[in-house]
């Protein structure tokens, strides 16, 4: 018989129902030490820990809100982001990193299933200024999203019939279903962004004349590089990977042979190979270095191999073989790895006498891309680098021409979506400053951070929750391969997070703290940082001095850290020895102690107590108090929640 149930839930009497919803108290233990590696690893500083924590507690909407704060396309990123955060994740040292990316996707899918209300906060054209964005890839879309929220009028011009850039015309559908792109692009449109597709920009001065006050160039890198191998221009049967993938994505009829070779080791190569496999061809990939050097995502390579694609590592094309003007095969040579080159990767060195041939009808080079600048009119004044990309100021993305900015792949060469988003954010900030006539370079104040060493307590191993996949035999189509997490899986996975640096900065606790003791900022004048910690953690950051300590800030300043332990305390003269606290405490902290005369009094083990306060909520005589979860507070709760 659980004696105390009626107090925890609601008080019901014959006549009155007292709603008592919050009797299970909230966490008010804030430990905050630096930022976490995942956030640090993310180019847009996503509050990873915060959203993982919120997923773990089932607060999916709030978690998505956190994601969207920095990322306008979570459903897209959640599928195809290269997730540098996971590379940094501390948990990797124990078992595997958190499935941070897949959890983001889970949130976007959750919203899709449950419907969403567009977040229109701040969207009103309040500021003067019209902005033209060229290119609707992730760079352009992000900048558009930010600028319209800042109050500007924004138009995006896109040459192709669809918006999304490489998301739509590069990354294949089985990795990124088109309805996901459409949904997220539409959400941006709904904010008021005009996206003009089938509109190729050919002149910047014309845009200026149309009244655009600022122009952002985000045209990506779409021009495939040549192989520079004999026979390349002689025989028919060549198809550049970008052209190939774009044609497939746009639903055009593409003719490829039964046997296909893809050359290269990046994502574009793997995507081309897996796409050709889906069109019914048998596919070989030829890559110069070993698997370790392959820039494509490891999990993509794995899937490609599972789909039966043969990868020739350490092999380079020597010569194209042709008959009757058509490609029939390719001669390759085996390499070994020599000294590292300028990129730091070991240079492939051909092994004499190791030549071999592969039969093929179609060759898809996917070695690298550069921006296609053929649209720029002759006599433009923009500075172009030797890699055919735009030269910009690294911090502001401003080109050498006033009012014109450029970012994304067309500046960096082929990179990643998350870096494209970062560029979009950066451009939006600069363009805002430009239009507000503020100096473009912000006086950046680098946030001072308290330097603590992050110590991982030894944790038990717990395998990562693996993403369910479409079975191999069902893959001769463009159905999405990764199937996504179910709610339970997402929660289970999110619970693996170690919460490096403790406080997740999700700010969930702030409205709950009755005494407004929680502050997320480190005070300017370092009067002190309050760490409210359970007692067993007291000595952790404070080497030696359990209650107070001085710490150096990055700039050499000292800051006082005050630690307040939170534990439940029993006023023994009020304790009835009923044992309710003992029964309810999850951490077995309270223990009844016989006073010798048959009288029992509860004693709470300070080390075991986590300060959750639930015992205070069940104690019939009000004998238990917590630092600031007092009986008064509980009383107030009752009063506030009384509805008659």
């Amino acid at each position: 018989m659980k004696k105390i149930s009626h107090i925890q839930t609601a008080l019901e009497t014959k006549d009155i129902i007292l709603k008592f919803p919050k009797i299970t108290p909230i966490t008010y233990t804030v430990r905050k030490i630096n930022t976490s590696p995942c956030k640090d690893g993310c180019p847009i500083d996503t509050d990873v820990k915060a959203y993982l924590g919120l997923i773990a507690t089932g607060k999916f909407e709030k978690a998505l809100e956190i994601v969207k704060k920095d990322n306008p396309i979570p459903g897209i990123c959640g599928r195809i982001c290269v997730h540098p955060c996971e590379t940094e994740c501390t948990r990797d040292e124990i078992d595997q990193p958190l499935a941070i990316c897949a959890l983001k996707r889970f949130l976007a899918d959750y919203e899709l299933r449950h419907g969403s209300t567009p977040d229109l906060a701040g969207v009103k054209s309040t500021k003067k200024g019209k902005i033209a964005i060229i290119g609707s890839g992730p760079t352009g879309l992000t900048a558009a999203n930010d600028l319209i929220r800042l109050g500007y009028k924004v138009t995006v011009f896109e040459e192709l019939p669809v918006a999304g850039g490489m998301l739509y015309t590069g990354i294949p559908e089985y990795r990124l279903p088109r309805n996901i792109i459409k949904t997220e692009v539409n959400a941006i449109k709904e904010l008021g962004v005009a996206i003009k597709t089938r509109t190729k920009i050919k002149s910047l001065s014309k845009l200026r004349k149309q009244g655009y006050d600022a122009i952002f160039i985000a045209v990506g890198a779409h021009k495939g590089l040549k192989l520079r191998v004999p026979g390349e221009d002689e025989f028919k049967g060549f198809l550049d990977c970008i052209t190939f993938l774009r044609a497939v994505s746009l639903g055009k009829k593409v003719k490829i042979g039964k046997k296909v070779i893809v050359i290269g080791g990046g994502n574009a190569a793997i995507d081309s190979a897996r796409t050709a496999f889906r069109l019914g061809s048998s596919v070989h990939i030829v890559y110069r270095r070993s698997r370790k050097e392959m820039p494509a995502n490891a999990w993509e390579i794995e899937e490609a191999e599972r789909e039966g694609i043969k990868i020739h590592y350490l092999a380079s094309p020597l010569k194209i073989l042709g008959e009757n003007g058509k490609v029939v095969g390719m001669e390759c040579i085996q390499n070994k790895l020599g000294k590292p080159d300028s990129s730091g990767r070991r240079r492939p060195v051909p092994i004499k006498g190791s030549e071999f041939n592969i039969e093929t009808e179609t060759i898809i080079p996917a070695i690298s891309q550069e921006p296609d600048l053929s649209w720029l009119p002759a006599g433009h004044k923009l500075k172009i680098s030797k890699w055919n990309s735009f030269e910009v100021d690294e911090d502001t993305l401003a080109t050498n021409v006033k009012g014109i900015f450029a970012g994304g792949d067309c500046v960096t060469g082929p990179k990643t979506v998350i870096e494209a988003i970062a560029a979009g954010h950066k451009a939006a900030k600069s363009i805002d400053r430009y239009l507000q006539r503020k100096p473009l370079k912000e006086e950046t104040k680098v946030n001072e951070r308290v330097e603590f060493e992050v110590v991982i307590e030894p944790k038990e191993k717990k395998e990562r929750v693996y993403m369910p996949h479409l079975s191999i035999k069902n893959r001769k189509n463009f159905k999405e391969v990764e199937l996504g997490f179910k709610e339970k899986m997402a929660i289970e996975e999110a619970k693996r997070c170690l919460k490096c640096g403790f406080c997740a900065e999700c700010s969930e606790c702030m409205p709950d703290c009755e005494k407004s003791l929680v502050s997320l900022s480190i005070p300017e004048e370092p009067s002190g940082i309050l760490l409210r910690v359970p007692l067993d953690q007291r000595e952790f950051p404070l080497n030696g001095n359990p209650l107070q300590g001085k710490f150096s800030l990055a700039g050499g300043k000292k800051v006082t850290v005050i630690v307040e332990p939170i534990t439940a305390q029993v006023r023994s003269e009020l304790c009835r020895g009923c044992g309710d606290c003992e029964e309810i405490c999850e951490y077995s902290a309270p223990k009844l102690q016989d006073q010798g005369n048959g009288v029992f009094i509860s004693k709470i083990d300070e080390i075991g107590c986590k300060g959750c306060g639930i015992c205070a909520s069940v104690c019939p005589s009000g004998a238990i108090t917590l630092n600031h979860f007092t009986n008064k507070y509980i009383e107030t709760l009752i009063k506030h929640s009384t509805r008659l």
Partner: protein, 403 residues
């Protein structure tokens, strides 16, 4: 201090001889050496106003033993009550049991527009009159009103103790019906306010009193019957003292039963069944031994000692008195849903042991709160078997034994 002058006068504290008899008899003082009634009087007489901040002010369980013992007639328990009223005015309170839920419920009941659903428990076999909202024909017939009190609230709040405390109300009506009385029950009754008064909240006590007085007077009842000793003393003593008297006679159910014992026993085929065992096995045991707990509000406060005993006797039980009975009975350990402490628990355990030591199988009481508090004390998992005893309410017992 003038602030205390009235209190000193009204409670005759000025007569205190500093003899310490109160302290020697106080059940709290025996356990908590910091608490002494003598010193508290002494402090007030010396004009120590800091006393209002003293937590000890809330430790008294208002059992009235000290007053009973005091040669100089100092009403110490009322003295402390009045000091609490002063302390409450400056924002002091005791430590409420159950997170103040009871106090909240009581204060909620002061709302004029409160909608209660307090007659849910009535069953068809119980005959009552429920007044409509309009004023009834005053004094059209000799009406008896049954003032139910907080039984419905206790019943569900303490459902974990498996008390079936509402049986007291049902039994009361059954007995009244048996005597040919169809009582009036008010759907809009409120808590009598006893505990608010004793915890210092005089303002809200007065609101409850005013409401109940108006409602009762509206019904035109000549007699108000109560089954709870606290309601009894409140309606009878405190309403006239602080607000206004009722136009009705206040009667406790044990008075009524005792008065009608001959009728209940002999008349018209009605009467008590021969006493059987109360236990489930149903085997007859005419000499079941019982003992009786005098509730302080019924005994020391209202001088009703003998009627319950007569009733127990009439039903054929063998009454084994505890050592401390009648005027010197020890109370159930806590009062006013406040400062229910380790001392309360010890008082309860000691009293239960005393009951058990009489050799009785059943402890009879006539106060719902005695029952709640004792049963609460027995519900702990660490409880000594030797302290466990069955508890029954007197009214319930009578109704069960009726033919």
């Amino acid at each position: 201090m003038t602030q205390f002058q009235d209190i000193i006068k009204r409670t005759k504290a000025y007569l205190c001889l500093d003899c310490g008899k109160c302290t020697s008899v106080c059940p709290i003082s025996i356990l908590n050496e910091n608490y002494t009634p003598r010193l508290l009087v002494n402090k007030v007489l010396r004009g120590d106003i800091d006393l209002l901040n003293d937590e000890l002010l809330w430790s008294c369980i208002s059992c009235g033993l000290c007053y009973e013992r005091c040669e100089s007639d100092v009403k110490f328990h009322e003295f402390i009550r009045d000091l609490r009223i002063e302390a409450y005015k400056i924002g002091k309170t005791g430590v409420y049991a159950h997170h103040g839920t009871m106090q909240s419920i009581m204060r909620m009941m002061t709302r004029p527009d409160l909608k209660q659903n307090r007659l849910d428990w009535l069953t068809k076999d119980l005959k009552v009159k429920i007044p409509k909202s309009e004023i009834r024909n005053p004094k059209s017939d000799s009406l008896t009103l049954y003032f139910v009190g907080c039984l419905p609230y206790f019943d569900s709040f303490f459902s974990n103790l498996q008390l079936n405390i509402l049986q007291i109300a049902k039994s009361t009506i059954k007995i009244l019906n048996h005597l040919g009385i169809e009582p009036v029950i008010m759907p809009n009754e409120r808590c009598c306010g006893h505990d608010l008064l004793w915890t210092g909240d005089i303002e809200n006590f007065k609101k409850l009193a005013q409401h109940n007085i108006a409602e009762i007077n509206k019904t035109g009842a000549e007699k108000v019957l109560v089954s709870c000793p606290e309601c009894y003393v409140t309606l009878k003593e405190y309403y006239p003292e602080y607000v206004a008297p009722l136009n009705a006679e206040i009667i406790h159910i044990s008075e009524l039963i005792a008065e009608n014992l001959p009728e209940l026993k002999n008349n018209g085929g009605t009467g008590f069944q021969p006493v059987k065992t109360h236990s489930q096995d149903g085997c007859a045991n005419s000499s079941l031994k019982v003992t009786y707990q005098d509730p302080c509000r019924l005994g020391r406060f209202s001088n009703i000692y003998e009627q319950p005993r007569q009733i127990i006797d009439a039903m054929g039980f063998k009454l084994k008195e505890m050592d401390k009975n009648r005027k010197s009975a020890i109370c159930c350990g806590t009062s006013g849903w406040m400062n229910c402490s380790t001392y309360s628990k010890q008082i309860q355990l000691a009293r239960l042991k005393e009951a058990k030591n009489t050799g009785a199988d059943l402890l009879i009481t006539s106060c719902p709160k005695c029952q709640i508090h004792f049963k609460c004390a027995m519900s702990d998992k660490n409880i000594d078997k030797k302290t466990k005893i069955e508890i029954q309410d007197l009214t319930t017992l009578v109704a069960n034994q009726l033919k």
